[in-house]
């Protein structure tokens, strides 16, 4: 029972500054993605993998900072979310390439 007890740990780690910092990183990642597409700075073949990679990083950041998902404390939640992501990716790939 992973979530049986209310967590009593200190909340010092949960500062506004930390969240602002990760927000800044997200903005930078987004800016890179937009720049990669609108300007000629990346070889054309690399653009799509690059921006999808950036999106994936951003999603992980949302999960683990903004959404307070903790690998150790919420093992089952993490399992379910990642299974969902895996099945989602399968759906996208199948619809794109098998249709």
């Amino acid at each position: 029972m992973e979530q049986a007890k209310p967590q009593q740990e200190s909340q010092a780690t949960e500062s506004d500054a930390k969240h602002l910092a990760s927000f800044a990183v997200m903005i930078v990642l987004t800016a890179i993605a937009f720049a990669a597409v609108t300007m000629d700075i990346v070889p054309p073949a690399m653009v799509v993998p690059l921006i999808i990679g950036l999106a994936a990083i951003q999603v992980m950041m949302q999960f683990f900072t903004f959404m307070h998902l903790d690998f150790k404390k919420h093992r089952i939640t993490v399992t379910f979310i990642f299974t969902g992501l895996l099945f989602g990716v399968i759906c996208v790939v199948a619809l794109k390439y098998l249709v």
Binding site: E9, E14, S15, F34, V48, I52, G84
Partner: protein, 208 residues
């Protein structure tokens, strides 16, 4: 925490640390919302897949290259990313027992959500004038279904958070409200996550 303590916490202004997980009800709610997010992920994946399969079928309508306007997308993205930050600041406010801060940031989130929706409607109107309509082609249908579903989620999220704000405004903060705010903010982040993929897969890849 014993039942008596919980009863007391329900009425007092000072909530326990991590109030959203202090009750079984709260833990269930948060877990349930996470599971729901897992399900929604797969549903959106299906819409993304459909969009990818059909994005070339624009018939007489404009292509993705002609249609999408990057500056507008950039503004939408910025609005939604900032709203994600404001909603997490609201949650932090709740954790710090600072309910003014919580209300303020969630209020800002609602405003940002509405401005995103306004921008999206404006964008759709532009597209329709450009000949990109829902029934015009398979591309149009897939595009508006994906974006429209996301927009509907934004609308629901905005209404949800507004409802919670009204509740706190009328009755004051309580232990019951904590998981509700926390789940609403989870939902809001999820909407943002979907948008990250929308601007990547729909808009940016439509320009590559």
């Amino acid at each position: 925490m014993s039942t008596a303590e919980l009863e007391q916490a329900k009425t007092s202004a000072k909530l326990p640390p991590h109030p959203e997980r202090a009750t079984m009800e709260g833990r269930n709610k948060i877990l349930g919302l996470w599971l729901f997010i897992g399900a929604e992920t797969v549903m959106f994946a299906c819409f993304f897949g459909t969009y990818l399969a059909l994005k070339g079928s624009n018939l007489d309508g404009p292509t993705t290259q002609e249609l999408y306007q990057i500056p507008m997308v950039a503004i939408s993205t910025l609005i939604l990313l900032v709203s994600s930050l404001t909603s997490v600041l609201g949650v932090l406010g709740m954790h710090q027992n600072n309910y003014k801060k919580m209300m303020l940031w969630f209020g800002v989130t609602v405003l940002l959500g509405f401005s995103f929706l306004g921008l999206e409607i404006y964008e759709f109107v532009e597209y329709v004038h450009a000949g990109h309509t829902f029934a015009g082609s398979a591309f149009g249908s897939a595009f508006y279904t994906l974006l429209g579903t996301h927009g509907a989620h934004v609308l629901f999220g905005v209404l949800w958070i507004s409802g919670l704000l009204v509740q706190v405004w009328r009755r004051g903060m309580s232990l019951d409200m904590a998981p509700k705010f926390f789940s609403a903010s989870l939902y809001w982040h999820f909407i943002d996550v979907i948008w990250v993929f929308i601007f990547t897969v729909v808009y940016l890849m439509g320009k590559v």
